[in-house]
Amino acid sequence: MTMPAMQTPPQPAPPQQPLAQGTQRRRIGPLEAVGQAFSLASRNTIKLKKNPDTLVDVTFQPLLMLFMFTFLFSGAIADGDRNGYLQDLVPGLLVFCPLFLTIGTGVALCTDIQKGFFDRLRSLPIARSAPLAGMVIGDVVRYVLSIAIVLGVSTLIGFRIQTNPFEVLLAVALMIVFGLCLCWMSIFAGIMIPTPAAVPGILVCAVMPLSFGSNIFAPAETMPGWLQAWVNLNPVTLMTDVNRELLLGKGDLSSLPGALAWMAGFLVVFFPLTMRAYRRRLGN
């Protein structure tokens, strides 16, 4: 079969050069890409507005732990000093919030891919990065809301911030950055795993050792040596140390460099892996 001569159909587009001379390859500018990412991120806010109970769902877990540990276990762990235990617990639970919320990112992404919504986006003239970036940016809203809810509820039952607003803001900013770095693990899982229902199960395997193998719920000194070794290394412990300093003025910021190194590590490992998986799963 011979192809008829290549011709150009009527198009509102600018005049076309013949292919032989190499057509100008059109790209999306960075500013435009950011705008698109924000438009896509608005999807998250729409969902939250529509369905506030989705947020309750995700804050339920931290709140459950707040109540369980404060009222059920504080007697055993902290020798009856419930209020003192609560003060130490909350800064750690606030680290748990973004960590736990990253699970939802992977599930949402996997659902988008499976439902074909991702294909719809990819068939639009938008930046390649916009769909993923939109997802990540949209999550910031969830992180902030869940941190606010946990802070609010724990204040009601006796938690007291001891520091100035600047330090509190710094703590919140650090937790958001923490979430933004760790979410790439979840995004990677969301791309690699074919069914959304399987995503949380696998991510919990990473989130559990990170959250329970930390000093959020009990001091490291109370644990056996091998566990202490992990707990002292765990980024969640390091972030909890930083948070206790920034919210309670307890301790110092000596754990901050380690925490930042972990965040950078997560990015360095999972970002390229994600990009590779993204191109593979999506056939390019």
Binding site: P9, P10, L19, R26, R27, K115, D119, L121, S123, L282
Partner: protein, 325 residues
């Protein structure tokens, strides 16, 4: 006529299946092109390649004059895609879905909403447009999805089995929409398993099987070439059946098939001029007849003939220039 879609030698392999081998397509602007084929023929793969969602392993394609691989962004500006499965955010309403797409296509948020409402209105979804898509019926979903692919006013529209799972009423609506779009100058590439749909809508049809093009042509051409025409004669009186059989054999060189119940004789016919000779011969032999006619095969017969192994594939490939697997 300028070509809106042109593909040469497309090849796509997945792990151990070759979904497309050497596929060619040429679709003139402003026409409907049907891609017909059984399950797994490679229809969706071809559409996904042409919509820049998949990269072919070999071959090249241009849409609206722009190379798919070299300039995908420009191609995406001019295409709309309705995939085989509705591709919307189920948590959002149809209005929110379409408005989001409008925003991504650089409309202001007011204009994006207005465009979304207009399109959803055209598809009879005004009442449901504020409800989450997950509450929609299958047919409503498909219509919302079709509306979503029109937000950017595409000049080339891909419809992958757009009417699968629709009731006859909704199906007719989709057909009318397609005709309306074509009247506005949109080029439509439509895949389907319904032969009737291709017959109704398409200006030209490409038949895929096992990733290759097994036939290409206008619907009537395909029918004629696939099955050839059949000549049917039923003499009024049974005792004339043998005489008529002799005449048919003499004229066409084929022994006619007999239907013993009705006395109808059928014979494949390549040269329609035989008809007039036949009438003359019958008159000379004094044979009266109740029925005399030419029949094209139905689309279903055509489809089966083309795609079934051992069917009439070989002659087809010769006549239509398709490539053997």
């Amino acid at each position: 006529m300028p070509l809106a879609i042109e593909a040469e030698g497309l090849v796509k392999r997945f792990k151990d299946t070759t979904a497309l081998r050497d596929v060619h397509l040429a679709v003139p602007a402003g026409t409907v092109h049907g891609v017909l084929g059984p399950n797994g023929a490679g229809k969706t793969t071809a559409v996904r390649i042409l919509a820049t969602l998949l990269t072919p392993d070999a071959g090249r394609a241009r849409v609206g004059g722009h190379d798919l691989l070299k300039d995908p962004v420009t191609v995406r500006r001019s295409i709309g895609l309705t995939g085989q499965y509705a591709a919307l955010d189920e948590e959002l309403s149809a209005l929110e879905n379409l408005a989001l797409i409008g925003r991504l296509m650089k409309l202001s948020s007011g204009r994006a909403r207005a465009r979304a409402k207009e399109l959803l209105g055209n598809f009879g979804l005004t009442d449901a447009m504020e409800r989450p898509v997950k509450t929609y019926s299958g047919g409503m979903r498909r219509r919302a999805d079709l509306a979503a692919s029109l937000v950017g006013r595409p000049s080339v529209l891909y419809l992958d089995e757009p009417t699968t799972g629709l009731d006859p009423h909704s199906r007719n609506e989709v057909w009318d929409t397609v005709r309306g779009l074509v009247a506005q100058g949109v080029t439509v590439l439509l895949t389907t398993q319904y032969l009737e749909e291709a017959d109704q809508l398409a200006d030209r049809i490409t038949v895929f099987n096992h990733g290759t093009v097994v036939a290409e042509g206008r619907p009537d051409e395909l029918k004629r070439r696939a099955g050839g025409q059949t000549l049917q004669v039923r003499p009024t009186r049974r005792e004339h059946v043998d005489t008529v059989a002799q005449i048919l054999l003499g004229l066409t060189g084929h022994i006619p098939a007999r239907d013993e119940d009705s006395g109808r004789l059928t014979v494949p016919l390549l040269d329609p001029m035989v008809m007039s000779a036949l009438v003359q011969h019958l008159a000379e032999a004094g044979v009266a007849f109740d029925e005399l006619g030419l029949r094209l095969p139905t689309m279903d017969e055509t489809f089966l003939a083309i795609t079934s192994p051992g069917g009439r594939r070989a002659p087809l490939e010769e006549t239509l220039g398709g490539r053997p697997a």
